[in-house]
């Protein structure tokens, strides 16, 4: 490791830390630790980002390390990529992750392929607010993770808790590969959690068991982990003991965790907020068929958003999204096998 690293700050344990605060802490600590870490994006400076995630960075680190750009996502990713060629570790913000579509080419054709083709690692992080449930409408609510899960060369992280968000973002910044870091905006300020002390790192590519159970496994990630947890508590009252697994990282996927849990409970329900066709549930079903087909006692079920754009009106969005009731109903059906 380069000698310019500062000593990691020995942050004390804190209570009541939100997702926004956790992500900000991760960036602060990494920028403090390593001057090769820079932030780049739209309105991330004086305003502190559309959701205030980068609030305070500019005053502390200056304009050379907190780079405000024109509204030009291709330029943001391209520049981040170019900076990484000189050993920097840029963290690029998409103001809303929906706008990542504007730089899709730059990410999938250049960033993702550089190491494989010509041995050029691209240690950048692309992070931004994603997900629905906040009535943001069709261009501010997307879950575009699967476009990138289908792109070899990238890593895709989608955390569900503040502590994971902080630990995974710090790991992502230190990773030598391009990492897409999705932040569910519904969770930004709605959940608070105790933050472990010190240089808190969470490994990329490892799922977490959120609730142990015997009867049925629910696999999920991001905001739907919380929905699944609520469903699990309701189902517990009905005598169905549900195991909830938070994938945390979608690429690389923790196959071992999936197979182990299915072998234990013999039933699998996948819950995600992404739309159904081409969502990760299909991939997980294939993994289970390849690795634990004979352990299954029932069909692999899925609860997902319907195959439409994210609608705007609350009644429409409610219909579009998975929720606790839909998860409970699907789990109940599956438990009957």
């Amino acid at each position: 490791m380069a000698s310019h690293f500062a000593t990691p700050t020995a942050a004390p344990a804190q209570t009541g830390v939100t997702m926004v605060e956790a992500i900000r802490q991760a960036m602060m600590e990494e920028m403090q630790r390593d001057p090769a870490v820079v932030a780049i994006g739209e309105d991330i400076g004086a305003y502190g980002g559309a959701f205030k995630v980068t609030d305070g960075l500019l005053a502390k680190f200056g304009r050379e390390r907190v780079i405000e750009t024109p509204i030009a996502e291709t330029a943001i990713i391209g520049a981040a990529c170019g900076m990484s060629f000189l050993g920097l570790r840029p963290v690029a913000e998409m103001q809303f992750i929906d706008f990542i579509a504007c730089c899709f080419n730059q990410i999938t054709n250049f960033v993702a392929k550089s190491h494989y083709l010509w041995g050029a690692p691209v240690p950048i992080v692309v992070r931004g607010p994603s997900g629905g449930g906040v009535h943001g409408g069709p261009f501010h609510s997307a879950n575009p993770e699967m476009y990138f899960v289908h792109t070899p060369g990238l890593k895709v992280i989608y955390p569900s808790t503040p502590a994971d968000a902080k630990g995974l973002l710090k790991s992502a910044i230190r990773d030598n590969n391009p990492v897409l870091f999705f932040e569910h905006k519904y969770l930004y300020r709605r959940i608070k959690e105790e933050m472990p002390a010190g240089d808190h790192l969470v490994p990329i590519g490892k799922a977490a068991i959120r609730r142990e159970g015997r009867d049925l496994t629910i696999l999920s990630y991001a905001a739907m982990v919380h929905t699944s947890m609520e469903a699990a508590e309701q189902l517990a009252k009905e005598g169905i003991d549900v195991e909830v697994i938070d994938l945390r990282t979608l690429l690389p996927l923790d196959r071992d965790a999936i197979i182990t849990s299915v072998k234990k409970t013999n039933k699998l329900l996948v819950v995600h907020e992404d739309t159904k066709t081409g969502g990760i549930a299909g991939e997980i079903a294939a993994i289970v068929c390849e690795g634990a087909f004979e352990d299954l006692d029932g069909p692999i079920a899925r609860v997902t958003a319907i195959d439409t754009p994210v609608p705007y009106s609350p009644t429409l969005e409610e219909y579009f999204m998975p929720n606790t009731e839909k998860v409970v109903a699907a789990a109940r059906e599956l438990a009957k096998y």
Partner: protein, 523 residues
Amino acid sequence: MSQPLTREQHLNLYYYMQLNRQLEERMVRLFRQNKIVGGLYSSLGQEAVSVGTASAVEKRDWIAPMIRNIGALLVKGVPPRDIFTQHMAKYTSPTKGKDGTSHFGDLKDLHIVSPISMLGDLIPVMTGVAMAGRYLGQNIVALTWIGDGGSSTGAFHEGLGLAAAQKAPFVLIVENNQWAYSTPVSRQVPVKNLADRAVAYGIQSSIVDGNDVVAVFNNTKYAVEECRAGRGPRLIEVKTMRMRGHAQHDPAEYVPKEMFDFWKSRDPIVLYEKFLTDNKIWDAKTKSELDAKIEKLLDVDQQFAEDSPMPPPEFAAEGVYCDGCHDISAEFKRPMSEVTPPGSGIDITYKLSDFPAGMGDAASVLKSANGGHSQHQKPQQKPQQHADAPRPVLHANPARQPNTVQQAKPAQPQPAPRPAVAPVPPKPVPPIYPEDEFVEPERAAEPEGPRVPFGRGPKDKAFRDTAEAKVYSRVQKGRNSAVPANGNSKNFTPKSPAKNFSKSGGAKSFGKQGGKSQGKGGR
């Protein structure tokens, strides 16, 4: 200020142009023998562009070539064997067979970023390289090329916009070879010179005859020095001609024969050989020695490539991720205290003085608009002068120039300080396209003479001074009239209250659960 070229520099320019051409001639033969995998993209007739531009950067500088800039790779230090093995998809190639053609790079030694087929994408990437070099205190310049075709992409616009906003030490060579595959420039871009567009980005530009390698070199050298002095970015339009089809499969029957004939008479290597002879820089013996050296090098490298193995099939599965195979570190050449707190801290409050002309300028623009006039102000300010420039070939929008100025003394010898020996004076150039293919509303009343696509204005001092004045003040105007924009329509703050979490209390208990299972996650 650049010096006249030394004899060695002159001979190097010849050597690399000829090496470029002979290498490609051999690859055409290999292609016909089915030894090249995939396409072969010729740079015949464009060697002066690749070699002249790349010769103007230093070893520490970074380049990102396009597929035809093989000459630039050679100048930067890539051996011909790498080009042969790449095209033949051999295991010994820089990408070990994972990509072909000139699609490879070298971050550590040669500072070359690999080309990508999605044209324009390298412009923001090299802007990032330039910004990182500046941040690290390395005093480097980043240079890349784009064709007339690629200049229409969104990445071109986004990248150049960011480079301009950041004042990045970045040089963009717009290689106008007249054709984007089968589409002529006139069908892509409604401006006469692609360099005209630089004005809109608020950056300096120039136009150069791409078949005059010394002119290309001097022009690029000047741009690189400007960037290194913190006056970047810069754009150079290089006018040349693609003398083959888009790739080997394309016979280019869509190109008018007269066009090929004209450009063939201006072959950059033939022109330069004559220049070297006329100015007694070399003799027949030197030429034959250089040619023999090229021949020998290519013999050895071609043989190496032909003898090399193809990659083992299972190699396809390797190298998607960097699992510690690369040591990534940034080389800081400035005090660390400048970039780490508290030294890096700033006052982030914007002040009126951050907007150079304050509100006064905005007011005058609005007043002018209300008076029924165009908001485009006539230039008033005296431009900065670069007295030390060898060829400050500033370029102005020709649509705003009287035609007579453009045509003034087109064949006049170069008055500006040049290399010890003067280059070939440009010949008058016959029209290439019918005049009506260009849309030039502001020039409609002007009588039209024979069109001179290049070698006009910039070589004439009178024109240059006027042009400089106009460009500078237009740029200045663009900066001053900035009115703080209103909020961004993307801004959005979720307002709806929590639904599920608040009532069940799941979040709280969940937090504990999450913390507890942290360490054993995944099993």
